[in-house]
């Protein structure tokens, strides 16, 4: 029996009020939320936290969302990222999708839509983790078999 742990979301946006409001709503809806106010802070805090999904604003001073996304995917390939764009930069969003983002939302975003995307992202991450677990188990199994056979082969 698997106990459902809350989805852990990191919200990354330089608009503090926006992050605060979104965080309070997501917490209310049962999510665990970690805020970050710029790209560097996002990357720093990812290390320490067990994040499932990152909601990432594309346009930020300093490291912009696309650079952060690239870095996230390099360091944590199975972490899911939902891009937020306040901008008509559909082009950028497409680039983001190619870099491995899970989805994107236009600001101001509809909350129910965000919830749905968050759950889907978490599901994909879990499926991903499940496959990795299975692959690891098989690997272990093969190794243990081979391990079992080793003395036999020596004969």
């Amino acid at each position: 029996m698997i106990i459902k742990t809350p989805v852990h979301v990191m919200i990354v946006d330089d608009e503090r009020d926006f992050v605060e409001m979104l965080a309070v709503k997501l917490k209310d809806a049962g999510f665990e939320v970690t805020p970050a106010y710029d790209g560097q802070e996002c990357l720093d805090r990812l290390q320490a936290n067990n994040i499932d999904v990152v909601v990432l604003d594309i346009k930020m001073p300093g490291l912009d969302g696309i650079e952060v996304l690239r870095e996230i995917k390099r360091l944590y390939p199975i972490l899911e990222v939902i891009l937020l764009t306040g901008h008509g930069s559909i082009e950028t969003s497409v680039r983001g999708m190619k870099l491995g983002a899970f989805d994107y939302l236009l600001k101001p975003a509809d909350f129910d839509e965000l919830l749905e995307k968050l759950h889907n992202a978490r599901q994909r991450k879990e499926a991903h983790e499940e496959r990795i677990r299975k692959a690891e188990a098989q690997l272990l199994l093969r190794e243990s078999r081979r391990g079992g056979r080793l003395p036999f082969e020596k004969d």
């Binding site: 409001m21 008509g88 101001p108």
Partner: protein, 412 residues
């Protein structure tokens, strides 16, 4: 933006080769002889025995040059000259006098006479003067026309510049607005969610909270529509270029405005010599343009009014016309209708972006939008599109290339 042609209904009639003449003199015999003389040389004319009859004729007939006697029993020629100049300043008037006197001559010239001749005047000489007067009138008309043309060009140019810089500014503003708007959106939504909780169900003035939050949400939605429309129009959108039937485009656009048609009780006529063809274009965006223009047409007409849609082939491309029999667009507004946020509709009914975006889309698709409008009779918006967007000047794809969806998304 240079492609937009805006026309209002100020057509100038070309001036006739020969002037239309009027003689005003109390001397019946002289009138007859001069009329006969002129007619013999191909100059038909009108004649009046006095100033009152002369004005009567002028009210009914178009006249280019009038020859007026200074002294008539019915009144003075000088007075008639002044009356003529009051109502049609561009008519040339030659004064004739039996006894030339310096004061009259000076007064006459001051009042705008072309010349002041002493009787008896030799008919050939008079006719020569008439020709000169007419030449001057035509030259002035030509100068006026050229000045108007120059003014028109300057206006178009400044309109283009204005639109271009407005576009850049508007995009920046829209983007800046989106961020604080998101905060309002999230905050209002959070309040709403709080109010939905059991603990807050029975707070005092509960309906007031709900009502006000509803208003905030409506406002946010309105702003969001505007900023998204603007930002999506900036050419960042992915384009799909495909072959599409003109018939289908029209019928889809018409069905999209079906409710609007019904609510306006409008009569829609669809005419088209040849709508069976197809063109390469971006169907989604072109449909958007058609819907915008149809919506404007339906807003322009009175209830029960008429909208006529026609499509026909023109060379390789197509021309779609949308006519409405509404009030027409005043000349001073015609210049501004393509500006972002310019609207005459009530707040909430129109954002003032429809024509602005339509123009941008049509130009991206290689076409032009033309407007003709007559006050009291209605407006025609005409879209001219090439057979394919590449066929018109972007040049990087051969127009005869048959099997492309010309994907501009990858071409940038």
């Amino acid at each position: 933006m240079q492609n937009t042609i805006i026309r209002s209904d100020r057509k100038r009639e070309p001036m006739p080769e020969r002037p239309r003449l009027l003689f005003v003199d109390d001397n019946e015999a002289w009138l007859q002889s001069i009329q006969r003389f002129c007619a013999g040389r191909g100059y038909p004319s009108l004649a009046a025995p006095g100033p009152a009859e002369g004005l009567d004729l002028l009210a009914r007939e178009e006249v280019d040059v009038a020859v007026v006697d200074m002294k008539m029993p019915g009144g003075s020629g000088l007075e008639l000259l002044r009356r003529i100049k009051e109502c049609s300043a561009d008519m040339e008037v030659i004064l004739l006098t039996g006894h030339a006197n310096m004061t009259d001559a000076v007064e006459g010239m001051k009042a705008g006479a072309f010349d002041y001749l002493s009787k008896p005047v030799e008919p050939g000489y008079l006719l020569e003067k008439i020709r000169q007067a007419y030449d001057r009138k035509r030259m002035e008309a030509e100068n006026l026309r050229q000045a108007e043309f120059r003014r028109e060009m300057e206006r178009q140019l400044s309109r283009c510049e204005r639109l271009a810089s407005l576009g850049t500014m508007v995009a920046g503003v829209a983007h800046e607005i989106n961020n604080p708007l998101s905060i309002i959106n999230e905050s209002a939504d959070w309040l709403k969610r709080l109010l939905a909780k059991d603990a807050l169900r029975d707070i005092p003035m509960r309906p007031e909270f709900d009502r006000v939050l509803e208003k905030i949400e409506t406002g946010v939605r309105r702003i969001r529509t505007i900023t998204h429309d603007l930002l999506c129009s900036l050419g960042n959108d992915k384009r799909v270029i495909q072959e599409v039937g003109i018939d289908r485009l029209l019928s889809e656009a018409l069905s999209a405005v079906g409710q609007h048609v019904a609510s306006r009780n409008a009569r829609i006529e669809v005419t088209g010599a040849d709508t069976s063809g197809s063109i390469w274009t971006d169907p989604g965006r072109l449909r958007q343009v058609l819907v915008n223009l149809l919506t404007n047409a339906l807003d322009a007409i009175e209830s029960g009014g008429r909208v006529r849609v026609s499509a026909k082939r023109s060379g390789n491309g197509i021309v779609v016309e949308i006519f409405d029999d509404g009030a027409g667009i005043p000349k001073e507004l015609l210049d501004r209708i393509f500006e972002p946020f310019f609207t005459t509709k009530t707040p909430g009914r129109g954002t003032g972006l429809g024509l602005y975006l339509s123009l941008r889309i049509v130009e991206e698709l290689g076409g032009v939008i033309e407007v003709e409008s007559t006050i009291g009779r209605g407006s025609t918006f005409r879209i001219r599109l090439p057979a394919s967007p590449a066929g018109n000047g972007s040049g990087d794809l051969a127009p005869e290339r048959k099997n492309h969806p010309l994907n501009q998304g990858d071409n940038r």
